[in-house]
């Protein structure tokens, strides 16, 4: 199954920005993820798909440090991050969103985004008291970065709104914005379009493509909507019951008999 540009690119050592090597995770007697590997080429959009309970979110949680894998390791740009704390991994440039929207509901849109900048803020508490001016200057720079994201995601009118009051699709967008505020090198999106209507999905797909192309952010996403996955992904990895059963370009994965068996149903004509 050679021939896809992503795979050819990936065939050369060093082109992978993020590598997951044979990670496993069990919870009590349940194996959530079994010896799964994932290679993410720099600048690619990689989708992880699979039926419910396939271990997709567990895999994402191991990349972002919330779960420590029982075996295997996670490597970001040559650096082993397997045992690092989630906050350190975020600081290294892996940002994420959550399956259930996880905004800070008491805070405004702008405050949520500013929190995304937290990790990029240099002056500490004491320093910000002593060098008040310096901290102010830094704050202005961070505020500008947030404003730029607000423009990008067309959230201008919602800056000062508490996020709890926003419509579902908008909250998802704010959550994407907050992840972008971290200036991530790799963005992990857990069902960015879950629960959205068709229009909202199309908007979100466009934003994800823009994030990837204009801002040069590598994207790893979990998504159930096959149409979207096949449209925007360079590379698709299929999990089923904790195992990786296929990987390749969208076309390759769609033709893969194991995938059709496990995920897409038995008949190929249903997909057409």
């Amino acid at each position: 199954m050679v021939g896809s540009s992503a795979r050819r690119m990936a065939a050369q050592e060093g082109d992978y920005q993020l590598v997951v090597e044979g990670v496993s995770k069990r919870f009590g007697g349940v194996v959530a993820v079994q010896d799964v590997s994932l290679e993410v080429p720099r600048g690619a959009i990689v989708s992880i798909i699979g039926p419910n309970g396939a271990g997709k979110t567990s895999l994402l949680n191991m990349i972002s440090g919330f779960y420590k894998p029982d075996t295997g390791r996670v490597v970001l740009e040559g650096q082993d991050i397997t045992q690092k704390k989630p906050s350190d991994i975020a600081a290294l440039g892996i940002a994420r969103t959550f399956q259930n929207i996880a905004l800070f509901s008491g805070l405004t849109v702008l405050d949520n985004l500013m929190l995304g900048r937290h990790v990029r803020m240099k002056s500490g508490v004491i320093a910000s008291v002593i060098y008040w001016g310096m901290a102010q200057k830094e704050d202005i720079a961070h505020r500008e970065a947030c404003e730029e994201i607000i423009d990008f995601l067309k959230l201008q009118d919602l800056r000062k709104q508490p996020t709890a009051a926003l419509a579902y699709g908008l909250r998802k967008r704010v959550e994407l914005g907050r992840a972008l505020a971290l200036d991530p090198r790799v963005l992990l999106l857990d069902e960015p379009m879950g629960g959205m209507n068709q229009d909202e999905k199309e908007d979100m797909a466009r934003y994800i493509l823009d994030v990837n192309q204009e801002r040069g952010v590598t994207v790893v996403l979990i998504e159930h909507d096959m149409g979207v996955v096949m449209d925007i992904s360079d590379h698709v990895v299929v999990l089923d019951r904790g195992r990786r059963i296929a990987a390749g370009t969208p076309e390759e994965v769609q033709r893969d008999p194991a995938v059709i068996q496990a995920y897409l149903g038995t008949s190929r004509s249903e997909r057409a």
Partner: protein, 297 residues
Amino acid sequence: MSEDLEFAFALVLSGASIGLMYSLIALGFVLVYKATDAINFAQGEFVMLAGMVVVTVLGAQAPLVAGIVVVLLVMIGFGFGLEKVVLRPLLGRPVVAVIMATIGIAAVLRGWGPLVLGIETRALPLPIGDEPISIGPATLPPIQVLGAVVALLFFLVFNWFFKKSRMGVAMRAVADNQQVAQAMGINVERYFAIAWAMAGIVSALGGVVWGAMLGVDVQLALVGLKVFPVVILGGLDSIGGALIGGLIIGIVESLAAGYLDPYVGGGTKDFAPYVLMILVLMIRPYGIFGRRQIERV
């Protein structure tokens, strides 16, 4: 103003000033609960410890300013140390484990404090005189006025801190959702430690004003008992709630003492806040300003 009204006014004013002093202590409890979900049963003992540290420093002929600086440093260090040594290992354990730990800390402080810092009741003199201060038709002891002013100042500072400062906003994020805060690169454990240190700062000042009012001995820890009706009333995680809750408890106490005690022979002041607490639990279990938790199962 008729005599009856003047009496009521005096009771309310005195109750409000004592209530603000309750709020100050409740604030320490709320800061910890808000950020770390830990219920601190040792808040009263923190105040006692602070009072004992101050009188010990003053006993060595040091000026009051030195006493206040020392107690602030000691209590900040105590907060940090406690979080690091006792509470961090309990992260992710059931809430009851943390509660038991704080009850243990309370017992240790009540035993160890008098042992090391002296068992006799000592005065904590503040240079504010004894001359009652007149406010309208009522008069208040100066220590109550000072206590109320200190409490209000703290509320203003914390209000600014949580609304405007970078650290305060991050702390609210930690309180809101620890997992997401971590994903934002916020070092949650560090903010837990800061919350305990802030409870230490509040307790240090609480120890000074309450110690000055009541004298310093192991009984000082009993002011911590008033924390529970205050925070149940105001909401465990609400800073404004601690302020309002303290005011209400203080005023109810004072009115009960003024109007009921003559008929029943005294003591209503001590249980009136708890009656109110039970009523509130029946009607609004999450407090007047607390966050209503909706469990989705």
